[in-house]
């Protein structure tokens, strides 16, 4: 069975556009993976992230609809623009949409948040006196 039949063409196009827009904003590569994770979900998503062509500058949004789990994985370069706090906020936005039964809508909202946050990365030097 061809990959992607779980989502409608319109949903895929919406997510595609959101990933592209977020990538343009943040200067990173955004990928979304819908899959049923085998074993530990976090480890599975990190392996998926590592299998990307440029993992350092990539952000992976991993969604396991069956297990109701979401993982956002940021590479080393991406982490400088999107810190874990921002990723957590985006994850909350996504899971909020998922709770309403809207899988694609939640992903689109989260990608938008990640892109906007990546466009305004945190200023690190103000953290130290």
């Amino acid at each position: 069975m061809a990959a992607g039949e779980g989502l409608s063409a319109r949903e895929r196009a919406d997510i595609e556009r959101a990933a592209q827009r977020a990538g343009d904003l943040a200067g990173l590569t955004f990928s979304v993976l819908f899959a049923d994770a085998e074993g530990d979900v976090r480890a599975y998503s990190e392996r998926a992230h590592a299998s990307l062509s440029h993992p350092a500058s990539s952000v992976l949004v991993f969604v396991d609809p069956a297990a109701r789990r979401l993982e956002i994985v940021t590479g080393s370069d991406a982490l400088r623009r999107i810190d874990n706090r921002a990723a957590k906020l985006a994850a909350l936005a996504m899971t909020s949409g998922f709770s309403n039964g809207d899988l694609a809508g939640g992903v689109v909202d989260g990608l938008q948040m990640l892109g906007e946050y990546g466009n305004h990365p945190p200023v690190m030097h103000t953290d130290t006196p």
């Binding site: 069975m1 990959a3 992607g4 039949e5 779980g6 989502l7 409608s8 949903e11 895929r12 997510i15 595609e16 990933a19 592209q20 990538g23 590569t29 955004f30 990928s31 979304v32 993976l33 819908f34 899959a35 049923d36 085998e38 979900v41 998503s45 990190e46 392996r47 998926a48 992230h49 590592a50 299998s51 990307l52 062509s53 993992p55 350092a56 609809p65 069956a66 109701r68 789990r69 979401l70 993982e71 956002i72 994985v73 940021t74 590479g75 080393s76 982490l79 810190d83 874990n84 990723a87 957590k88 994850a91 909350l92 996504m94 909020s96 998922f98 039964g101 809207d102 899988l103 694609a104």
Partner: protein, 132 residues
């Protein structure tokens, strides 16, 4: 790995229920009005009595035409949502297997995420987790 996914057609069911209620309401009013139509009305003096409608014409004018109109409006309003009713819902497994979206519209050539080796230090990665 066998994937199974479910498509919820709740929206379509709800839409059909709305259409059924509208149709039932129209038919009930049309049937209630039929006796009055059968009795007819007293024409003003000097005017020629109008030709009475046949049963088929009456049904067509007062039942079929309103029904067609309501069906058309219902279709125009509910049609788009019926078309979207096949969207994937959360909590359902993916029959199609892993689905990648992103990378500028091209499907990335990736290894199997389940077996790919981690190529960087875990400490260099970040992110967040969520449940719903």
């Amino acid at each position: 790995m066998v994937y199974g996914w479910a498509v919820i057609s709740r929206t379509a069911t709800r839409s059909l229920a709305v259409v059924a209620v509208v149709v039932a309401w129209t038919v009930s009013w049309a049937v209630a009005a039929l006796p009055a139509l059968a009795r007819g009305t007293v024409p003003p003096e000097g005017s020629e009595p109008p030709e009475s409608l046949t049963l088929v014409e009456t049904l067509g004018l007062f039942v079929a035409a309103p029904l067609a109109l309501f069906a058309l409006i219902a279709l125009a309003v509910l049609g788009p949502s019926i078309g979207r009713s096949t969207r994937h819902r959360t909590g359902a497994s993916l029959e199609a297997g892993p689905v990648w979206v992103g990378h500028g519209g091209t499907e990335p050539v990736l290894g199997d995420p389940g077996t790919a080796e981690l190529t960087s230090d875990p400490g260099e990665r970040g992110g967040a987790s969520g449940r719903w």
